[in-house]
């Protein structure tokens, strides 16, 4: 429903006036921000950072400043029930990076597998946090293909743009949940506008054909944004990649609420959303969660004109 209200709001507020104001916000409760994930055949990776006051300076907002906000004195123990692994802390030069997403802890031996269950325990002098996740069975796509952009105007750019499509046959059992990312060429995987979730509440057991929007880095720090017409579309000549990851309900709820809490929103129709974590803090407070991804990768090449 989000797009609907966006357009309603856009329609509605054409006459509105806007001004900068100063808001006096109290200090935020210090929290450990956990972004942990595990995928089949990959090591468990964890990003540990701290939250900050809402208006705290970004220190330039550079990658380095983000790296500086990491928590590096944690002990993280993870287990799949058989293997128990103490994660190694990575020095910044070894961070697992996906542009502004980075992981500063990595398991040494523990790797994910489909239908696996994983627990994690994080200890620092200020925080004690634990939780678990699962990697569900895979939910394969039937196929992906591309189509020319609908009604391309007679200009060079639009004729270059294509829409990526997928066909998916949903299993008859209800509750299939997915996070979807895409990228082209050597770019990094992103969701489109931080909207990555798919659930089968509506189409359970059916076959669905739907577009895949091009993944978009949330904040193209210092980079030029592509033209508006290109938003969501791929280009002729691109090599396109799709990351299609089955997730459990708790991971779904984690991202459902996290994506709804993205900053910069607002409006009369927006209500505050508190992030639903699948981690529990027995000491201090925690934000974020532990995601298990049953990931499958797909790719295709869009021929040049």
């Amino acid at each position: 429903m989000k797009p609907v209200f966006f357009w309603i709001a856009a329609f509605f507020f054409v006459t509105s006036c806007e001004k900068d104001i100063t808001v006096d916000l109290p200090k935020a409760t210090p929290s450990l921000v956990v972004h942990a994930q595990i995928e089949p055949d990959s090591f468990l990776v964890v990003s540990l950072t701290r939250n900050s006051d809402y208006f705290a300076p970004f220190d330039g907002g550079s990658l380095q400043s983000l790296i500086n906000s990491t928590v590096s004195n944690a002990t993280i123990i993870a287990s799949d029930g058989t293997i128990t692994d103490t994660l190694e802390a990575l020095t910044p030069d070894r961070f697992v990076l996906n542009h502004y997403t980075f992981f500063n802890y990595k398991s040494k031996t523990l790797k994910g597998k489909f239908k696996g269950q994983y627990s994690i325990k994080i200890s620092t002098p200020e925080f004690e946090v634990s939780g678990s996740t699962t990697i569900p069975d895979s939910l394969p796509l039937d196929s992906i293909w591309w189509e020319p952009k609908l009604n391309p105007e007679n200009d060079t750019l639009n004729r270059q743009l294509v829409r990526l499509m997928y066909r998916y046959v949903d299993p008859i059992t209800p509750g299939n949940l997915v996070r979807l990312f895409s990228k082209r060429n050597s770019e990094a995987f992103w969701s489109s506008d931080f909207r990555s979730l798919y659930e089968d509440a509506l189409i359970n057991g059916g076959t669905v054909i739907f577009p895949i929007r091009r993944g978009k880095e949330p904040r193209r720090f210092g980079l030029e944004n592509p033209p508006r017409e290109e938003n969501g579309f791929f280009r002729r000549g691109d090599t396109v990649f799709v990351k299609w990851a089955s997730i459990d309900r708790a991971t779904y709820d984690l991202w459902r609420t996290t994506e709804s809490a993205d900053a910069g929103g607002g409006g009369p129709f927006r209500t505050p959303v508190y992030i639903q974590s699948n981690l529990k803090a027995t000491k201090g407070a925690v934000v974020g969660g532990f995601s298990g991804y049953g990931t499958l990768y797909y790719s295709l090449i869009v021929p040049s004109l």
Binding site: M1, V4, W7, F11, S16, C17, E18, K19, D20, I21, V23, L25, T29, H35, T49, N51, S52, Y54, P57, F58, G60, G61, S62, S69, Y100, T101, L150, E153, G175, F194, A201, L202, I203, G206, T207, V208, I209, F210, P211, P218, R219, G222, E229, D253, R256, T258, A261, D262, A263, G264, G266, G267, P268, F269, R270, T271, P272, V273, Y274, G288
Partner: protein, 793 residues
């Protein structure tokens, strides 16, 4: 069966029975009865609330909703004073030797014209009637007040009364004494209107040209009303001119309206039909070429009110009335193959039969249909998505007015409503495949029986005591769910169609007491208990058309409100001025809110995301009104608190309700300079709305994510605004049938940028080392001029 009967218990029944039995004390001497209907002479329209006062006994009676009155007196000679504000008072001598039918016709004219009246009743009713927290609006006279875009709206006028809050800039949503938006019973010709607003709250669904009377009850709710915890807004449509065909209408900036009414059979049957439509879409369409990417986008709303009635005899009359209104929002983006069509609106229908069993016993039997539907149809390329929700009611009720004597009036009746709830349910189509995982429609029966006794104990004391017994039965289909450790739903039990699921019932005692201190002042007190069995689930600061009504179920308990009020009422200078101070305390149980991490999800029962708690509200309301003269108006001020507490929200910490507003001031003034020119103005001031802001932020997956702390811990800036209007009547003394007037209005005269909402924007760039979050305040309307041309012939 679940019971909520522990309040007051059987002692209350006893008190009521004693109160009713005392009625019989008036029968020792044979009484004779004068009764009849009070109507406007020119149109035959019932004058609701007109009074017949008997000088000799210093008592009187008010006409009911159908204009019927009845007085039982000892044989003898009496002078009856028949009055209704804005009409010529009549004094009639009656020699009462037998039961007497006296139908009265009144002519406009009067003491003053154009006075702004929030009570169309008799001049001293403010102090003499036991009713508290009750306001009657005269629609003709509020038309002179300034209105946003020139669209006269009863709901906006209601917001100018103490104890009533608006939900925000321009909105017709209202909140009474700390109650929620679903706690107002909004009736149009006795049919419940579930969503009373157009354009996301900017206009109400009530077309002022079709309305006869509007009554707001914010406390001391009489027993004939129920099903809501906070207030009643009772709107009656005009009946239609019994004498001649007339037409009236108006052309405004964004909408126009036309009303036709007249006799079908003179003095026996009449009709009224009234329509209104916005036309920005129609006006802009020719200027948008069909090749434009957004061609086909637009918004409009329309209303249609219609009513016919037939008088079979002096004892029997039938009314059939209906309302149909729709908002339609369309958006098209051809480039993306994207198309949205969202229609929503209400439909109501009411069939009523008035019957006089005797000159003391009046009956109104009613069959009611009410429906609210919201649909959303979204199409992108080959994918289509539909979303529907709504509520549908079939109701029957019967109400009796028994005019036992001048000291005793009894109302009693019963009602039944069959509710069908369509929860938010979705379907989709992609290519050749159609998907539908619709949630079951929920069904329930709501019942009530009531008795209400108004008793003039003596010249000082009037006691209004009532008891309502209400019940609610949910029937299948229904699936009882519970959340398991994996956050998924497990089915506990499935109920088949019409299989009983759960029952609730409760006693709703209602008492108001007036003690007359002297001829100009009185003290009043009231205590009421209300049960509310259906609830509006809203996740937004503003009511949205997508908000869904849900029934009480195994999981959702009925809301209960207990309200205590105490007031001092005084009139000055022979009722030229009216003043009152009321204090109240309202206890709200079984309140509903969404859990903290709720976001709308497809095909998921809303009740699984509810949390339950309590609320309370208290405050003082001050009201001073000048009723008559060339200069009229009022000042209302409210000092109030409204709080909520939910064990599952912030660990049970108390937080202010979103419409908690410490100070609320309204000033309304009107001045009639001449027959050609009159002026009116309003000024409002209110403490800023409570809202929730993030206090922290985190970086997750490259995104800045807001971290929220306490709910409603922040305040928007205070709201204040002045509006002015001037009405010009070109030919006030013209004998021609065609009459017209112009209303020029300025909304927000000094262009105050009142806050509508606050959001945060990420500004700057890390590349230039100036990335920051900036709070932005959005205001909707600067100064808005409008002009409306009204006509009548």
């Amino acid at each position: 069966m679940k019971s909520n009967s522990n309040f007051f218990g059987s002692k209350l029944f006893l008190l009521l029975v004693i109160s009713l039995s005392l009625t019989s004390s008036g029968y020792a001497q044979k009484k004779l009865t004068i009764s009849g209907y009070i109507k406007e002479k020119a149109t035959g329209e019932s004058l609701i609330g007109a009074t017949v006062f008997v000088k000799e006994v210093n008592k009187g009676a008010s006409a009911n909703e159908y204009g019927f009155y009845s007085l039982s007196l000892n044989p003898g000679q009496y002078f009856l004073v028949v009055s209704y504000v804005g009409f010529k008072t009549q004094i009639i001598r009656v020699d009462l030797t037998k039961d007497y039918r006296l139908n009265l016709e009144m002519e406009p004219g009067a003491i003053t014209q154009k006075e702004i009246t929030v009570s169309a009743r008799k001049a001293d009713e403010n102090t003499k009637d036991a009713a508290m927290g009750r306001v009657d609006l005269d629609i003709e006279q509020i038309k002179s007040l300034p209105a946003l875009f020139g669209e006269v709206d009863v709901l906006r006028i209601i917001q100018l009364l103490p104890g009533v809050k608006t939900s925000g800039e321009g909105s017709t949503g209202f909140y009474v004494r700390g109650g929620g938006p679903d706690q107002n019973l909004i009736l149009l010709d006795e049919a419940v209107v579930y969503n009373a607003s157009h354009l996301f709250g900017f206009f109400s669904v009530f077309n002022a040209d079709a309305i006869n009377g509007t009554t707001l009850i914010k406390g001391g709710m009489p027993a004939q009303y129920g099903g809501r915890a906070s207030s009643v807004l009772n709107i009656t449509m005009k009946e239609g001119n019994m004498k001649e065909h007339t037409f009236e209408g108006g052309v405004g900036l964004i909408a126009s309206r036309l009303t036709a009414q007249g006799p079908i059979v003179k003095d026996k049957s009449s009709y009224i039909i009234s329509g209104r439509r916005t036309y920005i879409d129609a006006l802009t369409a020719p200027f948008i070429p069909s090749t434009n990417n957004f061609s086909g986008s637009g918004y409009y709303f329309y209303d249609l009110n219609a009513k016919v009635n037939y008088k079979f005899s002096d004892k029997d009359r039938l009314f059939l009335s209906g309302y149909f209104g729709r908002d339609v929002f369309n958006f098209a983006n051809k480039e993306n193959g994207f198309n949205i069509n969202i229609p929503w609106g209400n439909a109501t229908g009411t069939l009523r039969w008035n019957h006089l069993f005797s000159n003391k016993l009046f009956m109104n039997a009613t069959a009611i249909y009410s429906n609210y539907q919201f649909s959303s149809n979204i199409k992108q390329t080959i994918f289509e998505f539909n979303f529907d929700s709504g509520i549908e009611n079939f109701g029957t009720k019967v109400d009796f007015d028994y005019f036992a004597s001048v000291r005793h009036q009894i109302k009693f009746g019963a009602q039944h409503t069959y509710h069908i709830f369509t929860p938010s349910t979705s379907s989709a189509r992609t290519g050749e495949n159609t998907f539908s995982q619709a949630l079951d429609k929920l069904r329930a029966h709501e019942y009530a029986a009531y008795v209400n006794h108004t008793w003039d104990v003596n010249d000082k004391i009037q006691l209004n005591s009532g008891l309502r017994v209400s019940g609610f039965s949910q029937v299948g289909p229904y699936t009882q769910l519970q959340v398991n450790a994996r956050n998924e739903f497990d089915t506990i039990k499935k109920f088949g169609t019409n299989e009983p699921v759960t029952n609730y019932w409760g006693l709703e005692p209602r008492f108001t007491l007036r003690y007359q201190l002297n001829s100009a002042s009185s003290i009043k007190a009231s205590v009421t208990r209300n049960m509310q069995y259906i609830h509006l689930a809203s996740n937004s600061g503003n009511s949205l058309p997508t908000d869904v009504w849900v029934p009480s179920t195994l999981r959702v308990k009925p809301q209960i409100a207990i309200q205590y009020a105490l007031g001092y009422f005084r009139n000055f200078k022979e009722n030229t001025y009216e003043a009152s101070v009321e204090v109240y305390y309202k206890d709200l149980q079984n309140q509903i809110d969404f859990r903290d991490n709720y976001t709308p999800q497809l095909n998921r029962p809303a009740e699984m995301d509810f949390v339950f708690g309590r609320g309370w509200a208290y405050g003082a309301e001050f009201f001073l009104k000048k009723r008559t003269g060339k200069f009229t108006g009022w000042i209302g001020y409210t000092l109030s608190w409204a709080m909520r507490q939910f064990p599952d929200i912030m660990g049970g910490k108390v937080f202010p309700y979103r419409f908690d507003r410490r100070h609320d001031l309204s000033v309304v003034a009107a001045y009639e300079l001449s027959k050609k020119w009159s002026f009116a103005g309003t000024f409002v001031y209110g403490t800023g709305l409570a809202f929730t802001l993030p206090t922290g932020r985190a970086f997750i997956e490259g995104q800045i994510v807001d971290l929220y702390a306490d709910r409603n811990a922040f305040r928007l800036a205070p709201y204040h605004r002045m509006d002015l209007a001037a009405t010009y009547v070109p030919n006030p003394d013209s004998k021609k049938k065609f009459k017209s007037s112009w209303t020029f209005a300025l909304y927000n005269v000094y262009s105050r940028l009142n806050p509508y909402f606050v959001y945060f924007e990420t500004a700057g760039s890390p590349a230039t080392n100036d990335l920051r979050l900036q709070a932005k305040q959005v205001s909707l309307f600067p100064i808005v001029p409008s002009v409306t041309w009204n006509f009548k012939f």
